[in-house]
């Protein structure tokens, strides 16, 4: 990712210095500030595309809920356990805080605090995914609580499924799976940043990747904060 120049303005810095101190910028940028600002602008643009992508789910959700309010209410309370959703929400919120601390640590040049928080946040992400898979996805597949044509839930516990339950489950599966995929990508990115942090790539003058991956992680968190009440807490 980063190439450390052997010539140019960074070259004079002592060889023993940390990599971030030796980093200047890629050759097509005029200076480090522009490069940092440019990367951040790019990230914000990317995040706006992500938001628009998810807005498609939200749109579909509202239209279909408007068509089948009863099925949505019934299916949500019957198929989803709000406690799992709430725990996952808490986990993501904590991880977002860690990421914020990590960015601050990078600005202050505290390498170990930076790496520690990043890795902790990534563990939160893993926990989120494990809970989702073990407590929701796998049991649901076994019980046939899957969307569309494969829906084979037999009923029971005094619940009689509405013919439109599969629609709710369609929205649930598609949106949470897409979100889960984003969490997975986020975890991988956090590992990459953490690993680079340990190698001393980030410091007060250069922490673009920490900042940008942090922004991404906050967005993934934010989307979940909307998905959780919409899916789990239908009144």
């Amino acid at each position: 990712m980063t190439t450390i120049p052997t010539t140019g303005p960074g070259a004079g810095v002592q060889a023993s210095a940390e990599p971030w101190e030796r980093y200047t910028h890629q050759p097509h940028w005029r200076n480090r500030e522009d490069e940092f600002e440019g990367a951040k602008l790019g990230m914000w643009l990317f995040l706006s595309t992500e938001l628009l992508l998810f807005s498609g789910f939200f749109c579909a959700y509202f239209v279909l809920r408007h068509f089948y309010p009863d099925a949505f209410r019934g299916a949500s309370t019957h198929f989803l356990d709000w406690r799992i959703g709430a725990i996952n929400t808490a986990i993501l919120l904590i991880s977002s805080w860690n990421v914020a601390v990590a960015v601050r640590a990078a600005q202050l040049g505290q390498k170990m605090i930076l790496a520690g928080n990043i890795f902790f946040a990534s563990l939160c992400g893993v926990a989120f995914l494990v809970l989702k898979l073990a407590l929701e996805y796998f049991p649901k597949i076994q019980k046939g609580e899957v969307p569309g044509a494969f829906f084979s839930y037999a009923g029971g516990h005094g619940y009689d499924p509405s013919p439109y339950d599969p629609i709710f489950l369609s929205v649930y599966w598609v949106s949470t799976a897409t979100h889960g995929f984003h969490v997975l990508v986020g975890v991988l990115l956090l590992w990459w940043v953490g690993w680079r942090a340990l190698k001393g790539h980030f410091g007060p003058k250069h922490y673009t990747a920490v900042e940008n991956v942090g922004l991404y992680w906050h967005l993934v968190d934010l989307i979940w904060i909307f998905l959780f009440p919409l899916l789990y807490l239908v009144p």
Binding site: G8, H28, R32, L41, T49, L53, G56, Y68, P163, I167
Partner: protein, 582 residues
């Protein structure tokens, strides 16, 4: 703050001064060098080749469609009294015909026209115009090319496995119940992937324009090409994700049989139409804005005139971008409520205003200019003529009462071909000729190129003007056959498409001849003032020897000597008579 001088004396080794096209070694090395390059110029050229191939594929499909329509499919009695089917020229069934126009539409829209100007010419020219060394994210740029290729391969796979017959709009429920749904999956995945390529290019250009302008270049010192591409990029970034989620949902519907759009499971097919057009109307401006962007350059440079109303042209691009997001419902007049239709109809008229502003400004620029009848100028004039027809017929379609009659007829087909082909493709051709000497360092044969342009113009109008007439007479679109009364008009249209094909072949020949043995191009063959004309033709690897500085406005033809030209060839105009000056 530390700024690096563009040329640090020691670090400036000779190879940075070589033209970007210079070969770095043997055959294999050269291929490897191109496949891994992060140079925006090479990526632009790679895109150019890719989109021209797509154009060829889509064009062949279009020709088969036109040939099939040579005569109507009829069941007639032969001499022995048996009924036989006549008029099946190419395809043995209607499905074959449906697949051909789907292939044509999808390839032309998603593989050719959307990436065409921004990714090919934009990539090459935009950083040069800004005086930058590259785009903001060069690796992302290369990545987006590969994403484009992978997306195209999915589309090719869908075609080779037997094709898709849903139309390029993939309307539900048809696209989720089609028996060949596994190929629909490949096709919609292709569109999803191609969308990413488009988003990456857009992001790259927005950041480049914000952060990499040469010192001293304010927003209003940018060439209008840059403004147009900038506005396009905004639409690309803000509209494409909606297409992404739409086709992603469509793909998931087909794979997992879920029901968000599929009425069989309680889904809402009209929701699909809303989603699709929320992208695809803005997408038509992804297609036309870059064409308009090129137009401003062609008109100003080849008429050697300061562009009339610079700020109006610049802001009308942004205006178009903004309005394009709120008119999607005009594709669904027949599929939504009356109130919604009336609102969308009103909004649709708004979008014509900024487009018209541009056309008026270009016309005013030509007034009293010293017009050089080069191929780029010829295409600029063709654009103005055809785009005006296309835009005005859009207004017929935007009016509810007329659209009830014209919807889903050949009138619509003619309308969008006048804007997309008569607009964007003509601008693209003009742009390719305009920047050809810069890109490849060779001049092309002007006379033959003009012959090509004339053939394209005649062929285009023969093909599509007839379709306006067919449409008003009631010929519906997307049918393999028609009532015999329409035959002569259909045949005229088919002949026109042949003339068009010949015109394109002439252009191809001109390009090949130019590459093979064209005259060496001077750095500034047209006397342009934007920064790409300040460097060599073809540009050196790092674009400029020294970081360029803005000294004049890009359209200051009245009192700036064009860089790197012979004053005899591009003299300054006579000073204005006293009293009229500044």
């Amino acid at each position: 703050m530390t700024t690096i001088p563009a040329d640090t004396a020691g670090a400036h080794d000779a190879h940075h001064d070589l033209p970007y096209l210079a070969r770095k070694g043997g055959w294999a090395t050269t291929v490897w060098d191109w496949m891994t390059t992060i140079d925006h110029k090479k990526i632009g050229v790679m895109y150019l080749f890719a989109i021209l191939i797509a154009f060829f594929v889509g064009g062949v499909a279009a020709l088969t469609v036109r040939l099939e329509l040579w005569s109507p499919v009829q069941t007639v009695q032969n001499a022995a009294g048996e009924s036989v089917v006549t008029g099946r020229e190419i395809f043995s069934s209607n499905t074959g015909y449906n697949k051909a126009f789907t292939l044509h539409g999808a390839v032309m829209v998603f593989l050719f026209i959307i990436p065409s100007i921004p990714a090919a010419l934009g990539n090459f020219v935009l950083p040069l115009m800004l005086g930058a060394k590259d785009v903001a994210f060069p690796r992302l740029n290369l990545f987006s090319w590969y994403v484009y290729v992978v997306g195209s391969l999915f589309a090719v796979a869908a075609i080779l496995l037997g094709g898709v017959d849903t139309g390029w709009t993939f309307y539900t429920p048809y696209s989720v119940i089609a028996e060949d749904y596994h190929r629909v999956i490949a096709m919609t995945l292709a569109v999803f992937i191609l969308g990413f390529s488009s988003i990456f290019t857009g992001m790259n250009f927005i950041v480049t324009v914000h952060k990499l302008r040469a010192p001293g270049m304010g927003w209003f010192d940018m060439p209008l090409f840059v403004w147009g591409i900038y506005a396009t990029s905004i639409i690309q970034v803000l509209a494409t994700p909606v297409l992404g989620i739409t086709v992603l949902l469509l793909t998931i519907e087909n794979v997992f049989k879920i029901g968000i759009f599929n009425p069989a499971y309680g889904g809402d097919p009209v929701l699909y139409q809303h989603f699709f057009w929320f992208y695809s109307h803005p997408a038509v401006y992804i297609m036309i804005l870059p064409g308009m962007a090129i137009m401003s350059e062609l008109i100003a440079v080849h008429a050697r005139k300061r562009i009339f109303g610079y700020k109006f042209v610049a802001f009308s691009s942004l205006g178009i971008a903004a309005i394009s997001f709120i008119v999607w419902g005009h594709h669904m007049f027949t599929a939504q409520g009356e109130l919604a239709s009336a609102i969308f109809s009103g909004l649709t008229f708004l979008v014509a205003i900024p487009s018209a502003i541009k056309v008026f400004n270009w016309t005013a620029t030509l007034y009293k200019g010293s017009i050089a009848m080069t191929t780029p100028m010829a295409y600029a004039l063709i654009f103005m003529f055809l785009f005006s027809i296309g835009g005005l017929t859009g207004l017929f379609l935007g009016s509810l009462s007329t659209d009830m009659h014209l919807h889903d007829t050949y009138f619509v087909v003619a309308h969008f071909h006048y804007v997309m082909m008569g607009g964007t493709v003509m601008a693209l051709l003009g742009g390719i000729h305009h920047w050809w000497p810069k890109m490849f360092g060779k001049m092309y044969n002007e006379r033959w190129a003009l012959v090509g342009a004339a053939l394209v113009f005649v062929g285009f109008n023969t093909t599509f003007f007839t379709q306006f007439i067919l449409g008003t007479k009631g010929m519906p679109r997307r049918y393999a056959t028609y009532v015999p009364e329409f035959q002569s008009l259909h045949q005229l249209s088919t002949i026109g498409s042949m003339i068009l094909a010949v015109g394109f072949l002439v252009h191809l020949m001109v390009f090949v001849m130019s590459l093979a043995g064209g005259r060496k191009a001077p750095p500034n063959p047209w006397g342009g003032l934007s920064m790409e004309w300040e460097t060599a033709s073809p540009p050196i690897e790092h674009n400029f020897h020294h970081e360029p500085v803005v000294r004049h406005h890009p359209y200051d033809f009245d009192d700036t000597v064009p860089p790197q030209t012979d004053p005899a060839e591009f003299p300054l105009p006579e000073p204005a008579p006293a009293g009229r000056g500044h």
